[in-house]
């Protein structure tokens, strides 16, 4: 094999490795995107895991209005709404709000609430210590329940933000069942 051929082979191999790396990179964009979303609140995506609020002090000089919003995906036969339409909260203070859900589909159902926070710039400052949206929720036929969210607003939030909307879209996740116990933590069955 000539020198030429050898150097062709080496360079080709390097480039093929680069190509495979970039293919992998496309998939790496998925966790990377999730990470950046949580850090930066891109598109109002917020953490899907519990936040800690250790070491925060309450800033009573400011009050922020948090509005709750619910959406049912694809005419899902559920009732799903916040118990209160909004809450006033001081940064650093923890509050609890329940969302009422009722399964009107006529059969057992697994649903998942997907959270979204607006404005995008506020998303990374509204944090949840506990939320029904962290897991899929199993509902028996006709079951009614209040589902809790414990949340707080990070005092580092820019002073220009005075209103935040916490929104949940409820999805039928029958096609995406996760292997876990029927998770109903903190739920008050009615």
């Amino acid at each position: 094999m000539s020198n030429h051929q050898k150097s062709h082979k080496r360079l080709t191999l390097i480039l093929v490795c680069g190509v495979l790396l970039m293919f992998g990179f496309a998939y790496m964009l998925v966790p990377l995107y999730k990470l950046i979303c949580q850090k930066e609140g891109i598109n109002g995506r917020s953490g899907a895991t519990a936040s800690s609020m250790a070491g925060l002090s309450i800033d009573t000089t400011r009050t922020i209005k948090v509005t709750f919003l619910t959406t049912l995906h694809q005419h899902l036969p559920f009732t799903f709404k916040p118990v209160k339409p909004f809450l006033l909260i001081h940064p650093g203070e923890r509050k609890l709000i329940y969302f009422y859900a009722e399964n009107k589909t006529g059969h057992d159902m697994t649903v998942q609430a997907v959270p979204s926070i607006t404005p995008g710039d506020a998303a990374r400052f509204l944090k949840k210590t506990e939320c029904f949206c962290f897991t899929q929720q199993y509902f028996f036929k006709g079951e009614k329940a209040d589902m809790p969210v414990y949340f707080f607003v990070d005092p580092a939030i820019p002073s220009s933000i005075k209103e935040i909307t916490l929104s949940y879209t409820l999805f039928d996740v029958g096609d995406f069942l996760k292997k876990q116990q029927h998770f109903t933590k903190g739920r008050i069955d009615l």
Partner: protein, 260 residues
């Protein structure tokens, strides 16, 4: 050849001048749309100046240095000073444009206390409006008939830009828009209000508008959403606050009437 070029150019502007309505971005009726308009025009004029400079040199060269007129090429092909100049000047122009753009953007993102919150949901192929505090909710469908689309009936003046139930909002009130979608991505766009916001299934985006003039404003879905993407217009009716209060009462009464 040059004469042909000039002819094309002039005929172009002549055609453009004839069809003046809707040649430029509308100034609009919200503070944001007016700011966007001014930014757009500033950028346009900057582009005109740059274009005039480049095309000026180009046209001069094309006339002055023709081989057929006996031009001889002057051999120069590298000049560091010139490269630095035409790197620096555009850069400074960009900075000058970036500053107002950043300021306008910060206004768009300013979501201070609003007087009214409307949730907008995009469906294939209609819009749903929900007034969160007033407990009002309705769908808004295209009201142009199929016969008009298929050329079997005379087209109404607002062909494809008319709906059965417009979004009614009060003027001089900051209206917060929470935009989402049910199926695929749509975009809620009304040019005169300076609002375009993608509606994404599962997630909520926020925008706002404060309309300064009563009137009817029309827009369309801005993101390809399938078959009837062209047939889900948006109509916003801006009314005085007292008229809005009346509309709310009437609407609530009607809904109550329907239920009982």
């Amino acid at each position: 050849m040059r004469r042909i070029f000039l002819f094309v150019l002039t005929s172009f502007f002549a055609i453009a001048a004839l069809a003046t309505p809707g040649i430029n971005m509308p100034v609009g009726v919200t503070p944001v749309s007016q700011e966007i308009y001014r930014l757009h025009m500033a950028a346009f004029y900057v582009c005109c100046v740059i274009g005039a400079g480049v095309f000026g040199v180009l046209i001069y060269s094309l006339i002055a240095f023709r081989k057929s007129k006996g031009a001889k090429a002057v051999h120069f092909h590298e000049h560091l000073g010139l490269e630095i100049v035409w790197t620096t000047i555009p850069f400074l122009i960009l900075v000058a444009l970036a500053i107002p753009a950043t300021i306008v953007l910060s206004h768009i993102h300013n979501t201070d206390q609003s007087g009214l919150t409307v949730k907008i949901t995009g469906y294939q192929w209609r819009w749903k409006y929900e007034y969160l505090d007033q407990n009002i909710s309705f769908f808004s469908d295209l009201s142009t008939t199929q016969d008009q689309i298929n050329n079997k009936a005379a087209k109404s003046p607002w062909f494809l830009l008319e709906v059965d139930h417009p979004l009614v909002v009060p003027v001089h009130t900051k209206v917060r828009l929470l935009v989402t979608a049910d199926d695929v991505i749509h975009a809620w766009w009304v040019p005169e209000l300076g609002v375009k916001q993608d509606a994404i299934p599962g997630f909520v985006n926020e925008n706002w508008m404060m309309i300064e003039k009563t009137g009817t404003y029309r827009g369309q879905c801005g993101e390809l959403c399938g078959l009837n993407h062209a047939f889900m217009p948006i109509v916003v009716e801006a009314v005085s606050p007292s008229d809005f209060a009346k509309w709310v009462t009437a609407h609530q009464a009607r809904v109550k009437g329907d239920h009982s």
